[in-house]
Symmetry: C2
């Protein structure tokens, strides 16, 4: 069931903001609140949310993947991070909504400024976590502003709100999952007993999908089914989801391990846990506050700890790793065909960014195992390449002038696994500045690719290795070096990452991206990204285990952008060996013209 | 007033442990406690403590700089970190005291195992901080073991306990301090007002010495005077210290800024703050719990925050930086003379480690401005070089066989500033393994020396840059890469460091060591250490400030230990330029024979 083609609509319509805010304010008045919070979030904390949860877009027009709106009777604000400072003002009605960068802006500061105490600040407890609520409560202490949980007033006035998605559940057999749900459940139950707790409530679909070896198509670009689950200390489990998602065949495939219950029964189940006086494990950073409230209201004790599925899910088992390798081979065929096409077409000066996106998706679709892109393709030419999270629309679409750098960041979900790759290519002679930047980025990426490190090292510790060559020239990039990647799950996955922020210790089987970059605003953008899997790599001289990375991604790096003089012999050896591997593994899978292109693109330097 | 020569005595005497424990246990019985905690600490949290505060050594024989003893009626344990796993069992009576590595060992676990609830665990509140006490209380929650503050029973039975030191206070004039105490006080008072608090209690001598531009000789190797101080929000200040430390001349030099009061009046002053209902700032990680208790007992409210002097003290002002540069030039003359002597004498096969320590100290003493070594010199030959915190004693002293590597880590306090330098030298042909390790260490040290980085970067982020070349070969070192260094103050100073642990953001004027190493147990040790000062270094391409390091230390690195083929051109250029600078700055200060040696040692490679 292929997803829809990427949309290039300028979906924002600032004209809708005024009537929507008016409706919302009438519902807020009815609910008796002086302000209302609208996070860009659903109850499942997903990066992708279904259309019926795009409340922030409905209220403010803003379609980005993160942000929070605050609406009072007389004012409204939209808080967005650095990725969206340019986009948000174009999408909302700036006459009615103040766009505020966060940081340094904070909704609590705005509330203190715009409300007169005493006042009531409404929020939907399904859309905030207990941790978020605690932080907000703390920042409103002694201000006379009270946080009040209410039924969502926006939902009450959103006339044509899309219904929740109900796509069929997909069940992974052992040959794809590599470990049975029963085995995974037993390990989680063991953690529950040791916490100690009586039960665990899960609300993040990626955790539930991994635990029960299921998937779904409820949202774009992330193969999940939206559900809740309860796991008991004795290993019993219940999944709460829309029964329409399950055929009898799927029920049979799922077996007896989990009881399947309609979503509506979740509240009853939480009530029962409460009546038993159970100790219930929830993750305060991802669980809806509403679940915490239902539990404590019914008499349960909360055990607040990190979701116990996050870590085992991130450590891919051998079957998952083999699947990721295979997905990358399949993806590499599409990427090689695409890059060959760009090389042939771009110099003619007719291609646009939308052409790139469409061609790449069409090329990926030729693979039988392709299911969806893993995110909207970022294809930025010239100055658009410098916009880190650029998504081309009909109005931003740019014709690629020969000689411009083109940055393409894309990925796919295949039956076997998930990919994410960025390549930056030249469409004509590059400037010395561009080659210098490209080479510094490449040196950082090679350094991180080839590093060995003692077990116990976190991704945070490795991050500066990728930045060091840029730093020496006063250059840097304003994003992390790498993120965790799920196996046929979310393309962004914790708890590991390679960034300046604290992150998990790296363990064998974790899959991460390696994607340093450099962005010259208004001129060009450069990013080179491979996925890598953490692997055991013998012992150090201290007899302790050492780790390193195995590269999964197999696509040529544009050697026309390399300043050869900057590379050490070891870096050059790596590049040539990598290119030899790319041609050896992917060449035989290509038709002769593309194979000839790949052979030339991977020639030793 | 030069300090005494380094002692080479094996000061430990396990035979004294039995009678001392017996005395202690009788005092514990009298105090009504079932166990007593003996941290290696004084009330001022110094790395160096005066002889009368060496309680842990008195009770257990252990003379290391960190550890904690726990004594019950029938058992005793000594918890020590990795530096002391070998030394502690040699110094204590292992028939009476269990030596336990910490981590993973923990006094709380030992107490739970060895006491029968209900039981009382005594501690001296002057020797533990509020934060330590909270952690200990938390780990003993619901065990029936109660922490009880008591007058120190060990002090009651320590017959010949040395009296507290009372060396004269030294007052730094503006030409040495670079900023007046009045100006510093005003800045601290401003922080107190903004906290908000009414007063600040300081108990760390380094903070007090920096704030009031004073020094002292109360402990070895750290030029501090032991004192307490109170700073009020209006800028008034009181110093509490032994009046014998002050002459009338010194009183005059100190001026009116601080009131000078005898130590005995501290409790009264805290009582007064309490009676005023003051909000009093203490650092819960360094203040004695006794001070917190006196304050709250008298009615004060605690404002628990980090010592506000730590950060400004670490950012040396231009006068301090100039002083540090000058101290390093003076020190470099001694180091060059010493290294020339080692080169001439070591191949004869007669030198011992003690000879090295004595020669180096004697050479440093030739400088008029020399005041003390900044720590006991570490001089390890062959396998002793692999013991990271090795201090030679008459029984461990080793004759240096020609061909062994010799590691010498040492430093001095001069009137102008403080130094800390490590060099590893060959006394004959080195093995390929040794040269490989030396070169990897050097590459890491050069990488860290030459890095530029954006303002806002912490030392933690830079640490892996120094390890990367070792890591690739499965090698590492079990200590931080660098520590902060005081200006004519403690050679180990926070809040900055370069290590795998979280540390402060680096700011201009901070002085840090850069000392990667490698240790082959039972064979050899390698460490190369320079001090560096953080300096502004223009802007990045983003228009934001960039920083880099200026090297302070000026001594040749033994090129006979370098595997030339491993160095990049840029690394070689750095080494040659550094050596040229060393000869240019230090050569003219040496007599002809030593100058000739330095010229040869710094010849371009």
């Amino acid at each position: 069931m292929p997803a829809a083609l990427q949309s290039f609509d300028d979906s924002a319509d600032p004209a809708r903001v005024a009537p929507h805010l008016k409706l919302l304010r009438s519902a807020m008045a009815e609910a008796g609140v002086d302000a209302f919070l609208i996070p860009r979030a659903d109850a499942h904390r997903g990066e992708m949310v279904p259309p019926g949860d795009e409340r922030l877009a409905w209220a403010t027009g803003f379609t980005g993947s993160a942000g929070i709106g605050v609406v009072s009777a007389g004012a409204a604000a939209l808080f967005v991070d650095g990725r969206y400072h340019l986009q948000a003002p174009l999408e909302t009605d700036t006459g009615l909504v103040d766009v505020i960068p966060q940081p340094p802006g904070k909704p609590s500061a705005w509330l203190k400024e715009h409300l007169t105490a005493p006042a009531r600040v409404g929020y939907d407890p399904w859309l905030h976590t207990p941790a978020e609520r605690r932080r907000l409560n703390k920042s409103l202490e002694r201000t006379g502003l009270d946080l009040v949980a209410i039924d969502n007033p926006l939902d009450a006035v959103w006339a044509d709100r899309p219904p929740p998605p109900a796509t069929p559940v997909e069940v992974l057999d052992l040959a794809r999952a590599g470990q049975s749900a029963t085995e995974k459940l037993e390990a989680v139950a063991d953690q529950i007993r040791r916490a100690p707790a009586d039960a665990l409530v899960l609300s993040v679909p990626e955790s539930i999908c991994w635990l029960f070896n299921i998937r779904g198509r409820d949202v774009a670009h992330t193969p999940i089914t939206l559900a809740y689950a309860i796991v008991h200390a004795d290993g019993r489990a219940e999944i709460f989801l829309n029964p329409l998602k399950l055929t009898d065949e799927l029920r049979a495939a799922l077996g007896d391990a989990p009881a399947l219950r309609p979503s509506e029964e979740l509240a009853d189940a939480l009530q029962t846990l409460g009546e038993q006086g159970a100790g219930v494990w929830i993750d305060p950073e991802s669980s809806p506050a509403a679940i915490a409230d239902l539990l404590t209201g019914a008499g349960a004790t909360l055990v607040e700890r990190r979701d116990p599925v996050l870590l085992p899910k991130s450590k891919k088992n051998p079957v998952e790793i083999a699947g990721m390798r295979e997905a990358h081979r399949v993806d590499a065929v599409a990427v090689a065909r695409f890059l060959a096409w760009v090389d042939a077409e771009a110099p003619k000066g007719e291609l646009t960014e939308i052409d790139l996106v469409e061609q790449l998706e069409a090329t990926r679709r030729r693979a039988n195992s392709f299911l969806d892109t893993s995110f909207d393709t970022i294809a930025g030419a010239g100055p658009n390449g410098a916009i880190v999270h650029y998504r081309v629309t009909r109005s931003s679409n740019r014709r690629i002038a020969p000689g411009e750098l083109v940055l393409v960041d894309s990925g796919g979900h295949y039956r076997q696994g998930t990919t994410d790759i960025t390549r930056t290519v030249a469409t004509g002679p590059a400037t010395d500045t561009q080659r210098d930047a490209f080479t510094r980025v490449l040196k950082g990426m090679i350094c991180l690719t080839t590093i060995r490190f003692p077990a116990g090292t976190s991704g945070q510790e490795l991050d500066p290795l990728a930045r060091q060559y840029l730093w020496r020239a006063g250059m840097d990039y304003g994003h992390g070096t790498g993120h965790g990647v799920g196996a046929y799950l979310s393309v962004h996955e914790g708890p590991c990452s390679i960034s300046r922020r604290p992150s998990a210790v790296l363990e064998p089987g974790m899959v991460l991206s390696n994607e340093p970059g450099f962005y010259a605003e208004g001129e060009f953008g450069i990013r080179t990204e491979n996925l890598m899997v953490v692997a055991e790599d013998g012992e150090g001289t201290d007899g302790k285990p050492w780790l390193s990375f195995e590269t999964l991604t197999l696509a040529p790096i544009d050697v026309r952008l390399i300043d050869r003089g900057q590379l050490t012999d070891a870096e050059l050896d790596w590049l040539n060996a990598y290119h030899a591997r790319v041609f050896e593994e992917i060449g035989p899978l290509l038709e002769p013209p593309d194979r000839a292109w790949l052979e030339a693109a991977t020639k030793p330097l």
